[in-house]
């Protein structure tokens, strides 16, 4: 606080008018150099990571990997590919986003357009921040407690009254919490970036708040919605802890029941992240070439999502109001 009490005025002679751009102080120049170096280092690191996995991955990626399922074995040929884990990644992120998107958009609309009751809005805000900061392994543990309860037994396998609590439903539901904060913050940002005169224009035409939000504000914030969805999906696809704990960690789909899709959703399986974890040199499977190939596919998906985010934000910047 003592800093704030310092006099604001800056004593000392001012630089002469002629020196339009005086030479930088040494400390500034050193600072700039350090910032540059750090930036370059960071780019080099990121580049090296991507390149390494590109090279390693491309070496080992085979079309057959996408078409065959993992199977027990000790050689690269015997252990098969990662068809089911790949489908598992898609399935579990579809479930997670199907939950996170509507809830996230709803919460964002409520926080930015209504914000009432104010106390409740503040609570919701800090809850979402808390979820964002919670390690996913903690969410996974909480999920196991939740989905092992008999009331939610219909969402997973159960035998003789004991609920297994692990299924695509369970993993997807907990993963939606991983995506939710990103969806909420992006949609909210998008809505708050819309100037108030747009809302007023809609009200002045006799539109309700609901119609305004649904027909004007959300369409206008679509790039932000897309960004939130893609960033959230990226986090979901990359998560491992919840998958290990809540998806049952069976390398192939292990269905529960006989209804086609429902049996898969209630059953267990795995995702690409778990496949990498399993086949890493330290994992049970220990097929590093497979791990590299799967990691490459994961990286490609995440890169594609990033490009998508980039395009979405660029589109949103192109069409803006003049004031």
């Amino acid at each position: 606080m003592s800093l704030l009490e310092l006099p604001v005025s800056q004593p000392g002679p001012r630089a002469p008018r002629a020196a339009q751009s005086p030479p930088w102080r040494l400390i500034d120049r050193v600072g700039l150099a350090v910032a540059w170096l750090l930036g370059l280092l960071f780019c080099a690191l990121a580049g090296a990571l991507v390149l390494y996995f590109l090279v390693q991955g491309i070496k080992y990626v085979r079309p057959s990997l996408f078409l065959t399922n993992p199977s027990p074995g000790f050689t690269a040929t015997a252990t098969g590919g990662f068809l089911d884990p790949m489908l598992g990644t898609m399935l579990v992120s579809a479930i997670a986003m199907a939950i996170a998107l509507p809830i996230g958009i709803g919460v964002a609309v409520w926080l930015s357009e209504y914000g009432r009751p104010a106390a409740l809005a503040r609570v919701a805000e800090s809850t979402i921040e808390m979820i964002a900061g919670t390690p996913s392994i903690v969410l996974a543990l909480f999920g196991i407690l939740l989905f092992e309860s008999p009331a939610l037994g219909f969402l997973s396998r159960s035998s003789e009254g004991v609920v297994f609590g692990r299924s695509f439903f369970a993993a997807g539901a907990m993963l939606s919490l991983v995506a939710l904060p990103l969806v909420v913050s992006n949609v909210r940002e998008g809505l708050e970036a819309i100037p108030d005169h747009v809302r007023e224009a809609s009200y002045a035409l006799g539109k309700t708040k609901f119609a305004t939000t649904r027909r004007v504000l959300l369409p206008a914030a679509r790039p932000s919605v897309l960004t939130g969805a893609m960033l959230g999906a990226g986090r979901v696809i990359g998560d491992t802890a919840i998958i290990v704990v809540l998806l049952g960690a069976t390398l192939t789909f292990d269905r529960s029941g006989s209804v086609p899709l429902l049996s898969t959703l209630r059953g267990t399986g795995s995702t690409l992240t778990y496949y990498v974890f399993y086949n890493a040199p330290t994992g049970e499977g220990n097929q590093p070439t497979k791990a590299y190939a799967a990691a490459f596919v994961l990286l490609m998906i995440v890169l594609a999502l990033n490009v998508g985010v980039d395009i979405a934000t660029r589109r949103s910047r192109r069409l803006r109001w003049s004031s």
Binding site: S202, A204, T208, R215, S322
Partner: protein, 313 residues
Amino acid sequence: MEFLTPPPVRRLTGEESVTEPLGPTRGLPAPPGNGNGNGNGNGSAPASPLVGGRRRIASTPLAIDRMQAEALSVAYGRKPAVDSVSLPIRQGEVLALIGPSGCGKTTLLRSLNRLTELNKDVSQSGRITLDEVDIATLDPTALRRRVTMVFQQPNPFPMSVFDNVAYVLREQAARRPKRAALRGAVRDALARAGLLDELGDDLDHPALRLSGGQQQRLCIARALAADPEVLLLDEPCSALDPQSTQVIEDLIVRLREDVAVVIVTHNLQQAYRVADYVAFMYLGRLVEYGTAGQLFRTAREQRTREYVRGEFG
């Protein structure tokens, strides 16, 4: 209480005579020459310091009272913005609100379709009626469809031209009408605002890519699509070039037969060109209200004369 309340207005039944102030108000004698006939200064008026002719083609056919502000006061928090203003708004005539910046013109306009309510710390007293019904008793969304508003800054929605206008028409019905069903109404509204010929068939053009003048005319088309009974225009031409301004002024004069038009403007020539009646406001108060010819030539109040002569604000 130095300002004049507007003269009481008699509902008209005659064909050609417009409104007639009913003699003195608040002890002030009505100036001679005020209220004879429609007093629109059509043609016979002496040369005025204001350049440009009136856009009036024929005299106003018939004016009917649509809205009435009665001792309306609006305040933002403790700060009054409009101070007991009484004013009639008639269909068949254009009313111009003039006055220096910050005198409450926008606030008055916004209270006419209850947009002031959106601001939490606005307090209001007095009464506004629409067809003799207190607007406070109406559903605000229904009221705002009958009394639409165009703002100073063009504010089209970030969607296509077509959707901007169609948005107004949609959801008024129980079921969302199909695009083809709205086509006629959308083109009609755009045509009324003088935008259809310019855009041709490219109604899918993004509205935010139009020029400022086109955007403003789109906003007017949008306001007209609701088929309003009263149209409120808040400095609609302040961001426009002379040509777009002329298009809009022509439109305003054409519209007054079907719609009661209120226009706020800083451009006195514009007020003179398009308005039948002019209200001069100063510091939230209505200083003077009268026909355009009377207010611009033989204003009763010193302040009005000074403002009109450009010696004001």
